[in-house]
Amino acid sequence: MAVSIRTDGEAAGLASPSTRSATGASWDQPILLRLVSIALFAGIWEVAGRIPVSFAFPTFSDTIVAFFGLLADGSLATAYLSTLQPLVLGVVLSAFLGVGLGTICGLWRTGEWLVIPVFIVLQAAPVAAFIPMVTFVYGIGMTAKTLAVMILALPVIVLNTYKAVHNVNESLLVMCRSFLGTNWQTVAKIILPDASPVIFAGLRLGVAAGFVGVVLAELLITPTGIGDLITFHRSRADYAEMYATIASIIALSTLTLVFLQWVEVRVFRPESRGV
């Protein structure tokens, strides 16, 4: 109750001064709401931890303390240093490969027939089951972990890009042709911008899947990085530390997705800013 009344007041206060700040107001307000939402979540967590729901379930405050402890002793930084390498490599490779492959399949019939069925099967398959196989073939190093990220991230990126490129606005293509656009110009100036909302939706899902992939790899293949930190604290029953580690990777994943959205709106679809 209190929440909704306060935000109404905020909205009225922000919208009135001038029309130019209208876009600013629509940005500020969701941020406020998000903060309230986070505070509510933290509150419920704290209460649940104090009941306690389970002896293995720490309170929010204990988790925060543990988080700063992990930051201070450097174990979190060390863990991320090793986790981020396959993650960033895998995600970046998946993004470029996926968008490229998807674009080619969307434009070129033969490519579509050759490639798309494979990715439809991959997307439907419980890909985590491939991870032991990847380990068997590529061992326990960086390659295996990067592959685990890509196996999870690539299908959704390829399929979304393919669908978006395939369903590009026909009349814009004709327009580009009538104004003498070359094939490259058509791809760069019409097809990719037109497809970008769906491509970015695929990238967001792909990046999220990449996080799943890297954590799975570290839990299943080599106990290193974040996966190792989680396993280690679980085995010592340091539940607050374990939760802090898990929460940190969730937070990182969320921030990455927010950043992606920001890039999309900034670079590709400026018209959707403030809408």
Partner: protein
């Protein structure tokens, strides 16, 4: 040459002396539907010619063949005496559904034809700014299409076609997705624009009033198969107040005459 002009009609006209677009024996079949059967037409330079007819008469198909966006099954199109089968710099198209890039501002949309041609940014924006003002959108340069009304969006489409400085403007039912008030205003502006811009307009419409209101020359097409049934040159004085045309005797008579001719195709 004579074939087109000598078709019987209430006001037969002699073949134009200087035609910029020459259509010879164009035919087009979709599956087993004959959309166009051996069309011969000349479009006089500097005039506005309308292609008018009921739906299914192939008027948009003919326009897109002239634009080089659709291939004809037979026949030729010549612009300034040169045969064409693909889009070219001497023609610019205005689309029924506007075909604006939603992610680009009015400025970028209008300058897009020049952008594709590699004109540098400063130069193309200067040209675009001039045509944006010409179509009455000054001040809207940084808006996005979704912030504009239908009528304003089509003005953007028109400015884009004008800014590439083509000799021939091809307009495919440009006002059909625009509301009635805006359409009236737009038609008046088009008459004014025509006198300022020394260009040839080919205009597809299904509205008799619209065709008579703005055209120097009206080509009536009959459906199934699409053929030229009549060519009319309404003698309407458009020099004064465009509002007055709607009450002009000759305007009303021509509309009625065309309607009588088209009635048989409507069931």
């Amino acid at each position: 040459m004579g074939a087109t002009a000598l078709r019987n009609g209430p006001s037969p006209v002699p073949a134009p002396i200087d035609s910029i677009v020459e259509v010879r024996g164009i035919s087009k079949t979709y599956g087993n539907v004959e959309a166009l059967r051996s069309i011969d037409l000349d479009f006089p330079r500097g005039k506005l010619t309308s292609l008018l007819g009921p739906s299914g008469c192939g008027k948009t198909t003919l326009l897109k063949i002239i634009a080089g966006l659709i291939r004809a099954d037979g026949g030729t199109v010549a612009i300034n005496g040169k045969h064409v089968t693909a889009p070219g710099a001497e023609r610019a198209f205005v689309f029924q559904d506007f075909a604006l890039m939603p992610w680009a501002t009015v400025m970028r949309n209008v300058a897009f034809g020049l952008e594709l041609r590699g004109t540098n940014k400063a130069e193309r924006e200067e040209i675009a700014r001039r045509y944006i003002a010409e179509v009455g959108l000054a001040g809207f340069e940084d808006k996005y299409p979704h912030q504009l009304s239908g009528g304003m969006r089509q003005r953007v489409g028109l400015a884009r076609a004008l800014s590439v400085d083509a000799d021939v403007l091809l307009l495919d039912e440009p006002f059909s997705a625009v509301d009635e008030q805006n359409r009236r205003k737009f038609q008046e502006d088009l008459i004014r624009l025509r006198t300022n811009q020394n260009k040839t307009f080919i205009f597809v419409t299904h509205s008799i009033e619209e065709a008579v209101y703005i055209s120097d020359r009206i080509v009536l097409l009959s459906p199934r198969p699409g053929r030229v049934s009549q060519i009319i040159e309404p003698e309407i004085d458009r020099s004064g107040d465009p509002e007055r045309i709607h009450r002009d005797r000759h305007y009303l008579d021509t509309v009625e005459e065309i309607w009588q001719g088209l009635k048989q195709y409507v069931e």
